[in-house]
Symmetry: none
Subunit: 141 residues, 4 copies
């Protein structure tokens, strides 16, 4: 199973709504399917031009390795050369800071990933988790 | 000036609605800003995984060269080696068949581009132009 | 749903067995999952070193575009510049000659793709289809 | 001399069997020939999509440098910039943590390499060495 466009839309809208509610900086939100392919993306007005690449890299690394980007950050703190090398394997499409969140269904299967960027990494996670839960899915952040 | 997220959403929704109305195959729609950076994207359920790359290449080539992808196709028919070379210049991010549409405001300025893929190139254009006009913008397809 | 390793193994073994039965040249066979990611691969002794890239490109292009590589060949015959451009989009990972075969389950959903290379493209297809059917799956070649 | 497909299959099967016996997470195993080219690969159900790249990078770096990936990790601990640079030389296809194991024949010649990923690097090595020894070859891990 993989994420539907309808669920992806809900995640993005609710993530952005949480950002507005919390007065975060303009956010960008990507939703990838279980194979790491782009399902939907939105970048708020005022966000810088390169935000797709950052949001995508957080989510793409999560799908490829099967762990959220926060766990990649922990690994990068311990073994920077490992994460550098994996970044090379995935052609730069991996950003090891919080905000790349795995989407799981009720059976625990990974059905996609969400990447959020724009405010601090911690705030990116708060917004993304709110969006995912609003869509009735389980977030592994 | 550049396209707003709000306008981008309208374009995508109306493009997809046109596709459903015409019974096209599942569509994917990208909206880029005036600098060629991703503003929004949606891929309908049932579309193949690589559709972001195709939609993006149509719109990205349009922004980079300042002409719609249909005009690139005409050039490719006459001088395939030129378009092949330009594809190399832009690192593969150019797809010279119809469906990459320039967005212009009422003064005629380019404020972004839309890329549509999923059905025939001609039908991709029909859906995209309908979406752009529904958003009150001028399409150069 | 996506292809299981067990099914992938069966496809590879039966494809290679068909090649031996027909006295084809040494074959290489790749099985990708529904997201285009490598599930299994085998290269027979005597096959040239670069055969993974060819087998992979046939199957990867099929997954990304949602059509078998034979249909890409037809498009390349009509519009070489289009297939050249798409090859750029997918970073070279697309080989538009027969032998990239979509795997469908009984409902018609794409659950992966098989790429075969080593003999003529037509013979590559014969072997691959035999392997897929031996695994109880539907081949779109 | 280089590894045969038959030996490569045995290595993969026995590596995966060891992983099941030890209750490791789902493993992915690549076998490269003496020239660093893919001979065979299998990814167990439940492994994340990007596991081929990781397994491949471990084995590819081992072949290219002629030392197991554990020795590359030691070098990375001492001189991260060197391993980062070598990663660039090999276009990202080098992962300097344990699990990239050189295959040697009885005369000591390198005839290929095995890359294992999925559990901890240490456990990846345990499974890979078991697989190689079951095939009657000598592992340099």
């Amino acid at each position: 199973m993989t994420i539907s466009l309808n669920k992806a839309r809900t995640i993005i809208r609710k993530t952005l709504a949480k950002g507005r509610e919390m007065d975060f900086k303009p956010l960008s939100v990507v939703v990838l399917d279980a194979g790491g392919h782009l399902q939907a993306f939105e970048r708020e007005d005022g966000a810088s031009p390169g935000r797709f690449g950052i949001a995508h890299g957080k989510a793409h690394g999560a799908i490829m390795l099967g762990i959220p980007s926060s766990a990649q950050m922990a690994r990068a703190e311990a073994q920077a050369y490992f994460i550098n090398a994996v970044n090379g394997v995935f052609d730069g499409k991996l950003v090891p800071v919080p905000g790349g969140i795995l989407l799981r269904d009720k059976r625990g299967d990974v059905i996609g990933a969400v990447g959020v960027t724009g405010d601090t990494s911690e705030n990116d996670v708060i917004a993304g988790v709110a969006g995912i839960e609003a869509a009735g899915l389980i977030a592994q952040a």
